[in-house]
């Protein structure tokens, strides 16, 4: 009894990690295999082996190798990072605000990013690197002003409700800026902006993956270290303080990390909805609400989910010249599945 009790805690963590890594690898290979032109799965695997230095270079057709490693692989890595990062940020936001409806965009990240992107289109500076830079700056401006306001109001003892309300106000402000700018834009700029708001992974290259990788992985790793105390924070600020956790301080740190993570994703992919909201919910039903495990599982599941959605788009693009945006698929697939889970599980696991 005591032995099984002692082993109980680490076992699911190991199981989740192993399952997650395997699922990610399988999804990645499948996703590289699917595309507008067909490449045999053996060629995909061989190209990847060459890429990792595990097979001689001449064992694969150079054109195929190039398509796999410089077009499809970076796109898949972008998908894994974006999906994983959005899901872990969503899980953290839901915990920090003790609210299952919170999502990574709650504190103005999306509104700020949208404004920044439109500014880039409007000024004609929307190049491969400047577009992400503009929208990243927009996100940070929004989040920084929200945290600044919360500090000014409560002198650092930031309550959830102050943060949510200033988040709503700042989001509305940035949306208004965006509307003003849209009114002043020409049709071409408006079209570009609308296409950006659909969110997507098409034509994302190594540069994009590189831009995202460091902030996403770093913030995810730091969050996973801090998350032990988020469970205690579920008891409420006072009770958490009585258990030795400074809720106000931890809340701000966790919000900053998940906003950084979200901002560095959204600036590359545009807003992708539903991943940050739904993946944590689905994972909570599977691994339970304890945050460290939940967030690790959400990272893997988010990566798998977004990559699969993106594969589906590329498969569709064989029949249709124009690619759908991945944000459309995540909503089309995610929303019904989420509703199904809600109905099925509502009796046994109340949210």
């Amino acid at each position: 009894m005591e032995n099984s009790a002692k082993k109980r805690a680490p076992l699911p963590a190991a199981a989740v990690t192993v399952t997650g890594v395997i699922a990610l690898l399988v999804t990645a290979v499948v996703s590289i295999y699917v595309g507008s032109t067909s490449i045999a799965i053996s060629d995909v695997v061989r190209s990847l082996l060459v890429f990792c230095g595990l097979a001689p270079r001449d064992s694969v057709n150079p054109a195929v190798y190039l398509a796999v490693t410089s077009i499809r692989l970076p796109r898949v890595i972008c998908g894994v990072l974006a999906g994983g990062g959005l899901a872990i940020s969503g899980a953290v936001m839901q915990g920090v605000f003790r609210n299952p409806l919170a999502d990574p965009g709650l504190l103005g990240v999306s509104a700020g990013a949208g404004f920044g992107a439109l500014l880039a289109f409007k000024t004609g500076l929307a190049s491969l690197f400047l577009l992400p830079a503009f929208s990243f700056a927009g996100s940070l401006a929004a989040v920084a002003s929200i945290i600044g306001i919360a500090f000014a109001v409560r002198g650092g003892r930031t309550s959830s409700i102050t943060l949510v309300m200033s988040g709503m106000a700042v989001s509305a402000l940035f949306s208004a800026f965006t509307s003003v700018l849209l009114t002043l834009s020409n049709e071409y700029q408006v079209n570009n902006y609308i296409f950006w708001t659909l969110g997507g992974l098409s034509n994302r290259r190594w540069e994009h993956a590189g831009t995202m990788a460091l902030p996403v992985l770093l913030s995810a790793a730091l969050l996973l270290l801090l998350l032990g105390r988020l469970d205690v924070m579920m008891l409420g600020d006072e009770q958490a303080k009585a258990l030795g956790v400074n809720s106000g301080q931890n809340r701000v740190v966790m919000i900053m990390l998940s906003s950084l993570c979200t901002a560095s994703i959204v600036c590359v992919t545009g807003p992708i909805g539903f991943v940050g909201l739904m993946v944590p919910h689905i994972m909570r039903l599977i691994v339970g609400p304890s945050h460290r495990l939940l967030c690790a599982a959400s990272f893997f599941a988010g990566g798998v989910f977004l990559t699969l959605c993106d594969s589906l788009i590329r498969w569709f693009s064989r029949f249709n010249a124009r690619e759908f945006s991945v944000g459309i698929i995540t909503a089309l697939l995610g929303a019904p599945f989420f509703l199904f889970l809600l109905v099925k599980k509502s009796g046994s696991a109340p949210e």
Partner: protein
């Protein structure tokens, strides 16, 4: 009073709203020692919860509050680190809401947080303490139930088990019996008495004067933020004090079981 665990001197707490200041608590001195089970009673808004929070170090009133740390020294509560304080004092508040589907057992296990390292998983000693406190609070049967699916009273028992799992020598409970049936209320009071008997110091806010008179080793009557009287229940809870604090006429008598009882008319 050599083994003082909590000591408050000239504490005053007020909130400012719209330019004017409302005084919530202004009491000269309060202390509680090892082996005591002190009941804090008084009308709504008398400052009972505020007093408990101040003793727990959750709010910072004017004046000085000292608590005994794990090493046995009486130190100002603000001087202790969060973790040191959490190993010395536990506090159970009235709100038992927990979002998300945590099981009762997971909630009780959160009480072990101050004793765990940042990276270590709960060890078997933690598990044993969780089992033991859930047994003590009679909620082992609820172990795998989701916390939100429990009734208010059941949740309160789980929260008590969580507070006890913190394994502190000072135990502060804010209305631990408020949603309990008479059987469970009696059980909680018995647990408090036993904890005091083992040398811990229990301070609980209670509303039921009968419960306070029956179970507490000392009663402290608060009214309008001040300590009206403090001492043995039969001395403090007399008709005059009750009328002064609550504004009602009470008859105080010994019931057939030989305990102090109150009839309000």
């Amino acid at each position: 009073m050599s083994d003082v665990f909590v000591k408050a001197d000239r504490i005053r707490f007020s909130v400012k709203r719209g330019g004017s200041e409302y005084e919530i608590l202004n009491c000269g001195g309060f202390s509680a020692a090892a082996g005591e089970f002190v009941g804090i009673v008084g009308p709504n808004g008398a400052g009972k919860t505020t007093m408990l929070k101040a003793l727990a170090g959750l709010i910072k009133p004017e004046g000085e509050i000292r608590i005994r740390d794990r090493g046995g020294r009486l130190r100002p509560v603000g001087e202790l680190s969060f973790r040191e304080r959490a190993r010395a004092v536990c506090y159970m508040h009235q709100d038992t809401y927990v979002p998300f589907a945590f099981t009762a057992r997971e909630v009780v296990a959160m009480g072990r947080y101050p004793w765990q390292g940042r990276f270590s998983n709960p060890c078997s000693a933690d598990d044993e303490i969780v089992n033991e406190t859930m047994g003590k609070a009679d909620c082992e049967g609820l172990s795998d139930r989701f916390i939100q699916s429990l009734s208010g009273g059941e949740r309160q028992m789980v929260m008590l088990a969580r507070a006890l799992a913190q394994d502190t020598h000072i135990i502060l409970l804010d209305e631990p019996t408020s949603s309990l049936d008479i059987g469970n209320a009696q059980k909680v009071l018995k647990i408090c008495r036993e904890l005091a008997k083992t040398g811990r110091c229990v301070v609980a806010v209670l509303h039921d004067l009968r419960q306070a008179a029956f179970a507490c080793s000392r009663v402290c009557l608060l009214s309008h933020g001040r300590i009206l009287d403090s001492g043995d229940a039969y001395q403090v809870l007399n008709a005059g004090n009750i009328e002064r604090a609550y504004g009602v006429k009470a008859q105080v008598f010994k019931n057939p079981a030989g305990q102090w009882d109150y009839f309000i008319n």
